[in-house]
């Protein structure tokens, strides 16, 4: 089996499983779930095989798909270190989350649909990772959008799920609009959309770098990775089942935006990169603040995801795509861990998601809690944990570039520690604050295993030298680049101190501010306006809601009225009416009296004779 075929199998296995489920296993939920999990496992196996066979040339393959005149679409693989790294992560985390879902969704009526959706998602995600050209990326980009739509809407008959899925898809579409335009422009600009060819062209003549195209392509990233101003869909997307949030909206899909940037890094001029850095930083801070306004455990995690994505964007913008990827990977580990942990808690608390109704979970669900805490620490970037290395590198990069970004990102780190602390103290300690919390119970094996594994990864994931050497080449590259910048060491120490300080201060601060097992939000009590401001998240949803309901809808109604009354009413019906009136008129000419008719003859006679004697020269 050649490496290409291996990749093909890795790509098509989940599709096959999805089709199988869709057509034959709709009513056999259990079977469907096993099929899907098996598919996920197979993906991981194929990935490993592929990485073994890739050699240092990578795997390249391409098939023509559609040709019209000058326009040629091809499908192909560009399986190099970067994509290998990403694929490994996705395959592994994906597999774990599949396993987790076995337990989590055990008693769900529509399991089959859920696992089918997961398989479709894996298919599309792997497609993005392996794609060798922009068009193919776009295709699978849309497909992950669809699968996320499907999975967010899993709980069909809840209004919020319906709304959230719709919102996610449409907001993503807005981003994809720019992406699409960027692609077609790029096609006629470079004569191809093949990544390596474009890179070759740009290496040959860097003058061809076009800010417009880069910016347009970045729109896709903004939509998918939920950056300003298209971030609104991500928190709502938490309406989906928790494993989905873990897989799609934390670990992989939202990160795909960053991955996409890394893939096409060579297309970006510094201006756009800088813009992206600023964008990411601001999102990091913004999301950090917003998290304080949330009581839903998943929403808090969602905002933390937002801010971490901001970090990745910043890393990329600062010119270190490798570090961005690094943070992406580590983040995938601990954020998946956190979400799964939250899922486990929610599962244990019988689908109670409000942190102020939990408490005392630690005693009830020890394993979950421990793993969760590990995840928290990793996220806060406590020294030695995976999160530390990546965030550390980002801060260093920021520090070396400019002070503002550095300060903001440090602030972000502090905020992160703060809201995670808030969550931890309130959820795990103190005494249960609701029936659900009292009856909380530790989850089953299938759910704990992934937690443990991910916890382990969150601890050691940061040590590059533990990685297989085919992987993370680009990360090493960027790290080296960072190391060789002057002032690295000094900055390293400052960041070390500041970062650790940030997380300690954050954790302790939240401890003292909120207190263990608080029953309600102290901030809300003490400083209502502040809390309200944070909760409002700069009123983005309100603004969009207003636009959709008041402006867009009314405009549409106006146009439809125009369409009916002006175009149909006046032009079409009007003409018919005129004819009808004329008809009535000419009908009334038939008076029935012979004289009335003889007049016609007289007129006719005079007319003809007159014409003959040339009275009417009109003729």
């Amino acid at each position: 089996m050649t490496a290409t075929q291996t990749l093909l199998f890795a790509l098509l296995t989940p599709l096959a499983s999805a089709t199988l489920i869709a057509f034959f296993l709709r009513r056999r939920g259990a079977l469907a779930s096993y099929v899907s999990v098996a598919a996920a496992a197979a993906i991981f196996v194929f990935t490993v095989l592929a990485i073994r066979d890739m050699g240092d040339e990578g795997i390249v393959a391409s098939w023509d798909w559609l040709t019209f005149g000058n326009f040629n679409v091809s499908m192909g693989f560009l399986f190099d270190g970067t994509s290998a790294t990403m694929l490994t992560m996705v395959a592994f985390v994906g597999f774990l989350i599949h396993v987790f879902s076995l337990g989590y969704m055990a008693d769900d009526g529509a399991r089959a649909r859920f696992f089918g959706g997961l398989s479709i998602f894996m298919f599309s995600m792997i497609g993005i990772i392996l794609a060798d050209n922009l068009i193919m990326i776009f295709i699978f980009w849309e497909l992950v959008g669809f699968s996320s739509y499907m999975l967010i809407g899993h709980y069909l008959n809840t209004e919020e799920a319906a709304a959230a899925s719709k919102k996610a898809f449409i907001v993503n579409r807005i981003g994809d609009l720019g992406f699409l335009v960027g692609i077609v422009y790029a096609y006629w600009h470079f004569g191809t959309t093949n990544l390596s060819e474009m890179q070759g062209i740009i290496l040959a003549n860097s003058g061809l770098i076009s800010a417009t195209i880069a910016a347009l392509l970045a729109c896709g990233f903004i939509g998918k990775s939920a950056q300003f101003p298209l971030h609104v869909w991500l928190p709502d997307a938490m309406a989906g089942p928790t494993p989905v949030s873990a897989l799609i909206h934390a670990a992989t899909m939202v990160a795909a935006g960053v991955y996409f940037l890394i893939r096409i890094e060579f297309l970006f001029p510094d201006s756009i990169k800088c813009a992206i850095a600023i964008l990411g930083t601001s999102v990091a801070v913004y999301a950090g603040f917003s998290a304080y306004g949330q009581n839903d455990i998943k929403k808090i995690l969602a905002y933390s995801t937002l801010s971490q994505l901001g970090y990745m964007a910043a890393a990329f913008g600062l010119g270190f795509p490798g570090i961005a990827l690094f943070h992406l990977i580590t983040h995938a580990f601990f954020k998946a861990l956190l979400f799964l942990g939250a899922g486990s808690i929610i599962h244990g608390c019988h689908h109670e998601q409000d942190i102020f109704k939990m408490g005392g979970i630690f005693k009830k669900m020890p394993i979950t809690s421990i793993t969760f805490l590990i995840g928290v620490l990793a996220l806060c970037g406590v020294y030695g944990l995976s999160g530390f290395f990546s965030k550390d590198a980002i801060l260093i990069a920021a520090g070396l570039q400019g002070n503002v970004l550095f300060a903001m990102l440090t602030l972000g780190a502090f905020l992160t520690a703060g809201y995670m602390g808030r969550l931890v103290w309130i959820v795990f300690f103190g005494k249960p604050k609701s029936k659900a919390a009292e009856k909380a119970h530790e989850s089953g094996f299938t759910m704990l295993l992934p937690l443990v594994v991910l916890a382990a990864l969150s601890v050691v994931g940061g040590y590059m030298n533990l990685w297989p050497e085919q992987l993370g080449g680009i990360i090493r590259g960027s790290k080296d680049a960072l190391h060789h910048l002057d002032g690295y060491d000094a900055m390293h120490h400052t960041v070390l101190i500041l970062g650790s300080a940030a997380c300690i201060v954050g954790l302790l601060g939240s401890f003292f501010f909120y207190g263990v097992g608080a029953t309600e939000d102290r901030l809300e009590k003490k400083a209502g306006p502040v809390y309200g401001f944070l909760k409002a998240r700069l009123w983005f949803d309100e603004i969009y809601g207003y636009y959709v309901a008041k402006i867009q809808q009314r405009f549409a109604n106006l146009l439809s009225v125009l369409d009916i009354f002006v175009i149909k009413g006046i032009f079409v019906r009007g003409t018919a009416g005129v004819v009808g009136l004329l008809g009535l008129g000419s009908k009334s000419l038939h008076v029935g009296n012979i004289h009335g008719y003889v007049y016609w003859f007289l007129i006719g006679l005079i007319f003809f004779w007159g014409v003959a004697s040339g009275l009417f020269k009109a003729f």
Binding site: L602, I606, G610
Partner: protein, 180 residues
Amino acid sequence: MIDILFYVFAATVLISALVMVIAPNAVNAAMAMIVSFIGTAALFVLLEAYFLAILQVLVYAGAVMVLFLFIIMLLDVDKSETSYFNDKMTLGASIIGFGMVVVLVCSAFLGGNHLPEPGLLPVIENPTGEGLGIEYTTSTKSFGYSLFTKYMLPFQVAGFLLLAAMIGVIVVSKKQEENS
């Protein structure tokens, strides 16, 4: 001399025709009609179409008008019909229409500017018919000849026309028998 006759007859024709048109009483109209027909016959005579003149008097002044008078009497509709004088609309319209037609007619025929005046050819007793068509003649014989040679087909068709008319009159006016 003959010219004067022309004017006299022409005047007779036109005036009696006008009388016929405006006479409120149908019987008077019919009488005026007869006069104008006879005037026409006289004009025919001036044009030396004696046979036609006779025919005119016999058929029109005789048969047709008698038929008219007969019907008028039968239907007893000779009560004077003056409504059209009150009906200003009709009156005005007809006057205008009439005027326009007259103008057109005069513009066509007055002063021979459109139709050159041919000189009167002599009337031949024994037409020889060299060239196309028979020269103008008074001899009834040639009339009959050409009817039965050149105009054979129309002549026969006219026969059927009369037959159809006869059948039609019967169909329309015979008392319906209550059979079938």
